[in-house]
């Protein structure tokens, strides 16, 4: 199976105030008076250019996602961003990975995705996140019943896409007397679907049952490998076979002429990504009921490397981070794909306050020097 390369973007708001370290977190309560729409406009221009460049240079897909009340992402409603990118891109698949269904009426989300799929002539791919703990502090939806509501939303959306309407749905959270959304998705039976999560067994089981792909994000390499296997096992239990392309591998990459130059140009931005842009609190990460008590105890006992605190060597070994020459990065990615049993590379090529020129350089070198190397070698088999 050929390798597939995505470029994922978080679209951070990079103009943090000088005193931002005074704030324990850049999520949920970080004051929105620090958001300057004129600067936001400039950032959108740059980020769109970067994603369009990825399309022009032959990336297979561009990836967007949703976060609220934070500098981490300027995509509170990623479908709006996706709609703007569709006419600007030609061949790249548009991945909205994704909107947490719990914060939308399910018919409306099914409709938005169908519109994007039709507008893009079937280029849409979808991931369903439960939403981080932070999103539950920012939206009027209880984290306690989040998983139950999530299941029901998924059922409604799949029904909306696959059953001829009008149909009905009488559930715990939603009642539809006439579920009959226009338009219907371009791809049949519906766009490719994934679940994204941080490894909760409950979430993996949903992907397994529905035969969806699964992407674990911000979990250490060793655990990610176990989770991929767990998904394969659980999916088999439900009669599904998970293909390698259903296991997108989230990674951070920076390519430059030499190892020294790559590290010199990149590490500060990566550090700020972890320390500043992903700076959260235990309370934000785990609102009551969001995790089972067992999961909460496990997570509170383990150090959370993702949210605050930085040690480049430790982080590079723990997460999927490749920094260096094209050859080194290609080898690293090839090794990951073999080990993780995937052919689906989902690379973040712009992080934190990385200036436009570095992002353009990184995207270009990745497209012209890394992707061809990996395609020639065929990647993991």
């Amino acid at each position: 199976m050929p390798l597939r390369f995505n470029m994922m973007h978080f679209m951070p708001y990079v103009h943090l105030p000088e005193n931002h370290k005074d704030f324990k977190t850049t999520w949920v309560t970080f004051p929105n008076k620090f958001y300057d729409p004129e600067k936001g406009y400039e950032l959108y221009q740059r980020y769109f250019e970067q994603l369009v460049l990825a399309d022009r240079l032959g990336f297979d897909a561009i990836v967007l996602n949703e976060h609220h009340n934070t500098v981490y992402s300027m995509m509170a409603t990623p479908n709006v961003v996706a709609a703007a990118l569709i006419p600007q891109t030609r061949t790249a698949r548009i991945c909205v990975w994704g909107v947490p269904p719990n914060f939308m009426l399910p018919n409306r989300l099914a409709e938005e995705y169908a519109i994007l799929d039709v507008m893009s002539k079937g280029r849409l791919e979808i991931a369903f996140p439960l939403g981080t703990g932070m999103e539950y502090w920012s939206n009027p939806v209880s984290p306690v019943t989040a998983r139950e509501r999530f299941r029901e939303s998924l059922k409604i959306m799949l029904q909306a896409w696959t059953a001829d309407g009008p149909t009905t749905h009488y559930g715990k959270f939603y009642t539809y007397r006439f579920l009959n959304p226009w338009p219907r998705p371009y791809q049949k039976p519906h766009p490719p679907c994934y679940i994204v999560g941080s490894g909760s067994p409950e979430t993996i089981d949903i992907a397994a049952e529905l035969g969806f792909g699964y992407s674990c994000v911000f979990v250490p390499q060793k655990i990610a490998q176990e989770l991929n296997q767990k998904l394969r096992d659980r999916a088999a239990h439900y009669g599904h076979t998970i293909r390698p392309d259903q296991l997108p591998l989230l990674n951070f990459v920076y390519v430059a002429e030499t190892q020294e130059q790559a590290e010199h140009e990149f590490i500060d931005h990566l550090q700020r990504f972890f320390e500043d842009y992903a700076r959260s609190t235990p309370q934000w990460l785990a609102p009551p009921g969001y995790l089972s008590v067992e999961q909460l105890k496990i997570r509170s006992a383990g150090a959370d490397k993702m949210h605050g605190g930085f040690d480049f060597k430790a982080i590079s070994e723990s997460f999927f981070i490749a920094v260096g020459t094209p050859e080194k990065v290609a080898n690293q990615i090839g090794e990951w794909t073999a080990r993780m049993g995937t052919n689906h590379i989902n690379s973040v090529l712009h992080v934190a306050d990385m200036p436009h020129w570095k992002a353009v350089k990184n995207i270009s070198l990745f497209a012209e020097e890394v992707i061809p190397r990996l395609r020639r070698s065929g990647g993991a088999q």
Partner: protein
Amino acid sequence: MSKFTREELTVDGIKTVVHTAGKGEPLVLFHGGGTVDGFEFAEPWADKFRVIVPYHPGFGESGDDPTFTDIHDYVMYYLEFFDAMKIDAMSVVGMSMGGYLATKLAVEHGNRINKLVLIAPYGLDIPEHRTADIIAIPGEQVVPMLVSNFDTLKKDLPERPDADFIGARYREATTFARLFWEHPTDSKFPRYLHRVKMPTLIVWGEDDKLIPVQHAQTWRKLIPNSEVVVIKGGGHIVQRDKPEVIEVIGRFLSGSR
């Protein structure tokens, strides 16, 4: 040596742990939205009453029922609990969230309640004197807000909370959020408070940092046969700061009516 005897029973399919002490007219104590404080303070009432202190489902040593989504589920549960405990008529003391529960019970089954004591009850939304949103405040900040003088509570808390302690608090916060995340208060609740007809004592710590003492007068206006006692120097868990309040409540409960 505690006067209380621990009993374990199954009520409506839920493991229930109840502590009881004394003989006589049943006096049921409903704890609030967390159980860090314990209930040893209720011992003096056992001289005159059969004091019954259950852990609500989802709290302390009792089991969980994730189908409980609002306070009325607890009213239904307690009807079964009273059957199991052979309690017909009783007096009720409710603290904070337990005060809300006690009041709901009194609205719906007032004929079974002789006297009602509400200690800083939860349940009213008064925009000028808003209840602190304990769901939004980090746990380590909520705990000192429970009392006026933190030293009175600190001595009974772990210095370095371990995973079990943190897990237990998270579980109780989950139960609380199940009831109150989306709807912290029920706007129809005050509509029916006139049905609380039994003698009612409303007790409030003047320095309550969670539910402002100004709430006391609104409760008094809404509950016909009620009186207010404000405790100087008392916080939300008023008996922690001012143990003498236990005697004040005891006198109200055992006084002629």
